[in-house]
Every structure is written in C-alpha cells, then in structure tokens.
Symmetry: C2
Subunit: 266 residues, 2 copies
Amino acid sequence: MRERLEALGIPVPDWATAVDADAVAAFLAAHGGVAIAKTPRGGYDGKGVRVVRDAHAVDDWLGAGTVLLEELVPFRRELAQLVARRPSGELAVWPVVETVQRDGVCAEVTAPAPGPDSAVAAEIGERIAVGLGVTGVLAVELFETADGRLLVNELAMRPHNSGHWTIDGAVTSQFEQHLRAVLDLPLGDPSPRAPWSVMVNVLGGPPGATIPDRYPAAMTAHPAVRFHDYGKASRPGRKVGHVTATGSSLDAVLAEARAAARFFDS
Amino acid sequence: MRERLEALGIPVPDWATAVDADAVAAFLAAHGGVAIAKTPRGGYDGKGVRVVRDAHAVDDWLGAGTVLLEELVPFRRELAQLVARRPSGELAVWPVVETVQRDGVCAEVTAPAPGPDSAVAAEIGERIAVGLGVTGVLAVELFETADGRLLVNELAMRPHNSGHWTIDGAVTSQFEQHLRAVLDLPLGDPSPRAPWSVMVNVLGGPPGATIPDRYPAAMTAHPAVRFHDYGKASRPGRKVGHVTATGSSLDAVLAEARAAARFFDS
C-alpha cells in the first residue's frame, strides 16, 4: 500500500520494512527513537499496531515475517476522506470528516471536518481512487500535521466507520453508493443533508449489560437522534452500534450525539 | 367511521346510508342532484366509489347491502394529516401535506402543504387519534373547501401513501414510527428534514415495459432524487414505486420530482 501510494505521488509518513532488529534499530535512530510498527496483515481497530522505542520491541512479529515501520507523525487531528468510484470512471466525493480515536478505535466522527474548507483531502481521495482503479467505496484516513499538511495514514477499500454518518447525514449513504458503484450504476449525490452531522460509536460492555433495555430512555431523551444497533453480541470495546445527530449548530449536534451515546456506556 | 367521527365532533361531509333507490333519490334531492356513493367495504384507490346523479346508479351495490352516500364537496384542494399514537398516549404529528389525486389514485404529495401555516389539520388528526384510541400511524384525508374549512374525507389506520415522503423527507419515517408506536417505544421526531419534499407515484404500465431498465438514465439525470421500487409486477395504473425530491425551493423540488418520475411513464 505504501509503495503504490508513493508511486502515485501521494504524501505518506516516512516508512520502511524491517526483517530484523537491526533494521528496527536503524529506523528508530533515523526517526528520533520512536516509530509505529504494523503487522502487514490482520490488523484493525488498533490491533497489530504498536508504538516502538526499542529495537527488540517487535521480535515476536519479526519471527512471522516482515514488519512495517512508520514515523510517528505529530498530528493535530485525524481526518477521513470517503470516495466512491464506479468502473466506468464516475467519482462521488463526500465532504472530508474529522475522526477522533480512543485506544486505537474510532470514537466520534464530525462531518464536515470543522475549519476552513479545503479541497486537498478530496483531491488525495480522488487521486487514490483513480490511481488504484478502485471499484466501490474507499476511505482514506489522513493525518493533519501541526503545519497543516495531510499525510495518508491508512486506506480502507470498503464502506467504513468514518462514513456511517452518511446513512442519516448525506443524500446518498456510503452503503447505497457502494452498491451503485459495484453495479456500475450512476452514483448518488454525496452532499450533506444538514450543516453538521456527528456520529458517536457505541462500544460493548461486560456481558449482561443489555443495551436494548436502554433504548426507551435514550429515545425519550433524544427523539431526533438516529440509533443504530448492529445486533452483535456485546464484548468490552467491541463496536455494537452507533448514534448520529444532525443539525445546524455544531456545538448542539456534538452535545446531542455524545449525550445520546452515553446512555449505552458500560 | 362517519358515526364515530360525528360523535367526536369532527367536521365531515353530509352523509347518509341507503338501502334502496328511494333513499338514494331522497339524498340526491337534498344535495343538488349529485352525491358520492361508496361501498362500505373493499374500496381503495378509487375503487368502490362512484359519482351518482341517478337514484338507480347503485342498484348493483344495493343488492349486496347498504351504500354510503356523501355530499360532493366542492373542494379547493385535498390535504392529508399523518399522526402516530402509542398506547401509552404519546402523539407525533407530521406537517399536513397537500395531495393530488388523478383518476382516484394519489399522484403527488407536497410536504408541507403550501400556504399559510394552520394548526387545524393537526388538531383534527390528534382528536381522531385520541378519540379512537389509535395505535400506530393514522392518515386523515381532508378536503379543504372553497371557504377554507377542513372536512374529513377518509381515514387510513396505517402508514399511507400520503406519508411516503417521510422516508426521505422527515427525521422519522412513518414506517419506523409505526413500529415504535406498536411496540410502545418513544416516538421519533416527525420534523421535516428540508423545507420542501415532493413525492410522485410511479404507476405501472403495460406488461413488458421494464422499469428497471430505466434507472440508469433516471439516476444520471437526478442524482439527488430518491427512487423507490416496490418490486411489484407491473399492471397499468398499479402503484409500483415512487420518487421523492427534497430541497429549499418548492418550484425546483416539484419540477425535479415530476421530471424524475416521468422516466417511468408508460
């Protein structure tokens, strides 16, 4: 993924592959003594990712193969750019969003990302979708650095947590758009339906904490919030649902989405 | 239905039941020689309804039982008021809409009904829902008379064609609200999501007119319109789908919904 992005001229964090502890030591020495290490396969939601400050910190992974090392980017915030492309070439680009991660897991998404409008994220998303010949929905996770540059963190070649807000907050949701794209049907309008949408994930708690029991109170308090329950068995930290609030005041929408999600805190 | 509404003090057209041609003649004589006749059961979409100017015009129906006669109301337009009620008493009231019928079938719905705001329709809807102890969604079809009064034409104790716009145009759709109501869960916000929503029905054409073939052209021309296909076999005049457009200019929204629906004309 890093090789293809560099070949396309897309800005990414410094990176290298390592096959032994010497290579890890060299990368650490060149990057202030700290790096992000990733297993090339099987990682998600913070799994398979470590912050590394010691050349032997990934010896267990090196035994199984190559490890990806990346610079630890001092980012101001994380963004995500969602794009859809159909085989005949049409693109649809949703507004770039701000994502907040907690413990390596997406916690909250604000659409659009607050701050001055910028076409840079959309351009990066389009270049990747075209350059890789993507069919369907592509999510580009981005770091916004302290000096305002955007670097690509991760790609997800599918509908993505950062796009769940589109179900209730955009004219065309990422799921409908994905179907349109893979069927090579004309893409729908990705415009937002409200000035602001905020999605907050609901994470599972200990077994026995029955989330369905909490709906009546949550729905009474928040009649305009959209609740999504994935019907998954609850495990601590597992994404089992999300809530989305929309409206014209960012502060009010943020407060409402967070308050609605709090009903499901374990 | 007429008896219950009158007992609740709800304004309805003049009416009577007839068991023979003499009764039809008497009603015609008292109402300028014209009346609407309805079979008490089995009618929908204009079926089981006749405009009657002759005492013997419903002899075929009288053989099978009682016929309902109503005054022909000289209405300015038709409105519909959608209300939901849950058993514990909570009500949710969508904005009153204007409906346009063609050949006795709903053709087009504009939400909210254009014109000065009025609470009269909402009050009628609430009084009926409370008075009849409705559970779920209730649609009240109304005549707006030339002198501005509202008379109840028909009731539909269910999600209704006049509420299909809520799927895309309201925070809570009539279908979700119906489920919330029958489960006695807190009702969702019935507010509109855009200043204007217009729904246009798609009617079936002759066999062989394959509507799915027309989607690509329709979706290309109208990326922001929501298309709904019921998956029904096409028969001339049968409701097989609908389209909904939303936006802030009524003229633009009306034009877009009509143009999108026209792709499916037989």
